[in-house]
């Protein structure tokens, strides 16, 4: 197990290095001069150059890469070119919107998907299965931004149960959660649909396995065999999807954060891209990639805990 973890850790670090090089290389390609953006339409050339120097834009590339990585390792993500505040502070502010939102949405999606998938699989072909599968087809097909628009229209504008957007901060947790509810639903439903489908098909795969027949021959009821044997084994692929979804939810909220004007990471990155605030883009993308890679690592470890075969394979 430790060897397995160590091996995965090594590949994690290699991935991170590769990713950071790719990110840095891509970001350097972006045309557009942050200095001229910051100073605006009527800025003069000498002013621009002064600012560029001040921002370190005139340094050679490798030096800039090393500075960037070195800074990140010590928690210094640099200073935002537009906000002029430390990027670390920006990320710290935003992550407290995006992270709870992602967790909230993931919880919702899991809470919906698990029962739905299990019911559908255990009543395969029945009316419950058919209607759940129909609902998931719709869930997958509806663009989440459109769904978000409809949610706002119904629950914020017409019924006025929720605010239309924005985030009041964590001073009042109940209020904060309330303001994250509509976005979480908009994010969660399509994910829940996908998850329910994966859960169902994974369960069906496992229900068709020989060891389920063995369990039944031992005297387990259908339900016992489902819960004690199939569900746990079915969780393995479901875990991957949950891992992927978490990363997606953390970053993929961009459009949803836009619709609900939430000050989250997604909107930060969107604004930073339009503002050519490359240092923020770099850092946030790196952070997201870091999260994805670490989540994958965690999923791998979780796999190995759930499935002893993987531990042995390494």
């Amino acid at each position: 197990m430790i060897r397995f973890a160590a091996k995965r850790l090594l590949s994690l670090i290699l991935s991170l290095i590769a990713a950071s090089i790719v990110i840095f290389a891509v970001i350097e390609v972006i045309p557009g001069d942050p200095a001229s953006f910051m100073l605006g339409v009527n800025a003069r050339a000498d002013t621009l150059d002064a600012l560029r120097d001040q921002m370190g834009l005139n340094d050679p590339l490798p030096l800039r890469y090393i500075n960037w990585i070195g800074g990140m390792l010590t928690g210094d993500f640099g200073t935002s070119w537009t906000y002029k505040t430390p990027v670390a502070d920006l990320i710290n502010d935003r992550i407290w919107v995006s992270l709870p939102l992602a967790i909230y949405a993931l919880l919702l999606s899991t809470l919906i998907a698990f029962p739905a998938g299990i019911i559908a699989a255990s009543r395969r072909g029945g009316p419950a299965d058919i209607s759940i599968m129909g609902a998931t087809q719709l869930g997958v097909a509806i663009p989440n931004f459109w769904f978000a628009m409809i949610l706002v229209l119904v629950f914020a504008i017409n019924l006025r149960w929720f605010s239309a957007g924005g985030f009041p901060g964590w001073d009042n947790p109940a209020l904060a959660l309330k303001s994250l509810t509509l976005p979480a639903i908009a994010l969660a439903l399509p994910q829940a649909a996908i998850l329910a489908r994966v859960m169902r098909s994974s369960l069906l795969d496992n229900l068709g396995e020989d060891y389920i027949r063995t369990a039944r021959a031992k005297g387990l009821t259908r339900r016992q065999a489902l819960w004690r044997h199939a569900v746990r084994n079915a969780l393995i692929p479901v875990l991957t999807i949950i891992g992927l979804q978490f990363s997606f939810l953390l970053a993929g909220g961009i459009i949803i954060e836009q619709v609900f004007f939430l000050p989250g990471l997604g909107r930060l990155i969107f604004q930073s891209i339009s503002a050519r605030d490359l240092i923020v883009v770099e850092s946030v993308v790196m952070l997201l990639v870091f999260v994805v890679i670490v989540v994958n690592f965690a999923v791998d470890l979780a796999y190995a805990t759930v499935d002893p075969r993987l531990r042995a394979k390494s």
């Binding site: 001229s36 910051m38 339409v41 505040t85 920006l90 628009m149 239309a164 000050p263």
Partner: protein, 469 residues
């Protein structure tokens, strides 16, 4: 109720009005947190600010300001002539990053006479010096707080800055030590909502008390019909133009520019892009300005004539060019409409939508464009036509001479005449397609008083805002 939540579209990238160009900085901080020697009023007039009064020397070169007494910065330090000198010198310094350095270009010297008096000497007479000093870029800052001004603005205004949650909101509280009349509001929150749908939802759900510069004109009739809300549609200094690259063929040919101007139907653009909000213009000048000359007739819609002109210019079969559009909806929607109208006369305009950063890079700096649409929101900015390096690259010695003259003229009648001449020149040269004066719709809850109707400068001045009982 003594608090207010005001939404605006754009978030300031930082909070230093003397170091950044973004209008949003002024929207939030102008007059609320920072003040200058003079200031704009809601009607665009320039009145005393931190300077209680001033004397102008005979030759028009020396301005001696007497400062308000008892003015303190929010950090408790006093505001005196040294601070004014610091601010002006900093703005005009060699390495200054002030976005409007030109405002200070004529200043030759700043001398502190005593803590309450300061003299500013100009290199040449400048008719708009007091006007210039009212700009947000010319506010008075203190050397003690200048290091952190971008994130912690310390000014002299009626509100102090308390908190900024980047990407979401900025909070102000009343400054109890304010030197002037105390504002009615105790606290104010600015929220930044750029997405039109979100803006509509936020107002409808009453998440915000007012939205200044509401981005979706199509929703205004609904608010007007709703007794919960009031809608104020004011003027801005924003001349929205279809800019053309005057150095790039075929736009270097005045016939082509005229053809383009005649091919476009302003009213359709105002109706289609702005849902009827906006005043048509025929030159680069704000219609509400007393010196405005109505020159719309020069470029009234006439596609047949436009085709003739094109043929005359040697483009009987039309031509293909680019139309690069920045993000605001007037540009994006207007661009689609203009492209369709130009197609009618045989011109193919290939649209590309750009983010502001890209627009600045491609269009403004590199001048790599055929046409673009943008609103020029700086007050009284016809002077840009005198700069041949300005992005649309209009180079006319006659016009430049007129502007030169205007800058050194202080006699009001003479100035009016010169300004009329300037307006006519650029109108008849069809430098750009002049579309409309941008309207700023403000949607507010009924019962809210004192918001500015017009936008002589980008500012959401809350000092006079109050709730009726």
């Amino acid at each position: 109720q003594t608090d207010i939540t005001v939404a605006i579209q754009l978030e300031p990238p930082n909070l230093d009005p003397t170091g950044g160009a973004a209008q949003a900085i002024d929207s939030v901080l102008y007059s609320n947190v920072f003040e200058g020697l003079t200031r704009f009023m809601a009607d665009g007039s320039v009145v005393p600010g931190l300077a209680a009064s001033w004397d102008i020397s005979e030759d028009g070169l020396t301005y001696t300001f007497t400062l308000q007494s008892g003015v303190m910065f929010h950090d408790g330090t006093t505001m005196d002539a040294e601070d004014v000198k610091f601010s002006l010198d900093r703005a005009r310094a060699e390495d200054s990053t002030n976005a409007q350095k030109g405002l200070f270009a004529d200043i030759a010297d700043v001398t502190v006479i005593d803590p309450a008096t300061i003299a500013v000497t100009l290199a040449q007479p400048n008719g708009s010096f007091l006007f210039n000093m009212a700009w947000g870029d010319a506010v008075i800052v203190a050397p003690e707080s200048i290091e952190t001004i971008a994130s912690n603005p310390i000014g002299t205004g009626a509100f102090t800055f308390t908190d900024w949650v980047q990407g979401d909101r900025l909070e102000l509280t009343r400054n109890d030590a304010y030197w002037g009349d105390a504002p009615a509001l105790e606290s104010a929150t600015f929220r930044f909502i750029s997405d039109p749908t979100a803006a509509f939802a936020a107002v409808m759900a009453e998440d915000v008390d007012a939205f200044v510069g509401f981005p979706a004109p199509e929703n205004l009739p609904q608010f007007e019909a709703d007794p919960r809300f009031q809608v104020l549609v004011g003027n801005t200094e924003g001349e929205t133009i279809l800019s053309m690259n005057n150095q790039m063929p075929p736009f270097d040919n005045v016939l082509v520019r005229q053809a383009v101007s005649l091919a476009i139907d302003r009213q359709a653009i105002i109706d289609g892009a702005m849902f009827g909000y906006g005043t048509p213009i025929g030159t680069h000048f704000a219609p509400h300005n007393p010196d405005y000359v109505d020159l719309i007739e020069n470029s009234s819609h006439n596609p047949d004539r436009a085709r003739e002109l094109l043929a005359e210019a040697g483009f009987a079969d039309g031509f293909t060019t680019t139309l690069k559009l920045p993000p605001p909806s007037y540009a994006r929607r207007g661009g689609e409409i203009i492209a369709a109208q130009l197609r009618e006369v045989g011109i193919t305009a290939e649209i590309s939508n750009l983010e502001w950063a890209q627009w600045l890079e491609d269009v403004f700096k590199a001048k790599d464009f055929g046409m673009s649409i943008v609103s020029h929101t700086e007050p009284m900015d016809i002077g840009i036509y005198a700069n041949p390096d300005y992005y649309f690259q209009y180079d006319n010695i006659v016009f430049q001479a007129v502007m030169e003259k205007l800058n050194t003229t202080t006699d009001p009648d003479m100035r009016s005449e010169l300004m009329a001449a300037a307006q006519t020149l650029i109108s008849e040269d069809y430098v750009n397609g002049y579309l409309f004066q941008l309207a700023v719709p403000t949607v507010a809850k009924a019962g809210l008083n004192g918001l500015w109707l017009d936008q002589p400068t980008a500012a959401v001045d809350l000092t006079g805002v109050s709730w009726s009982e």
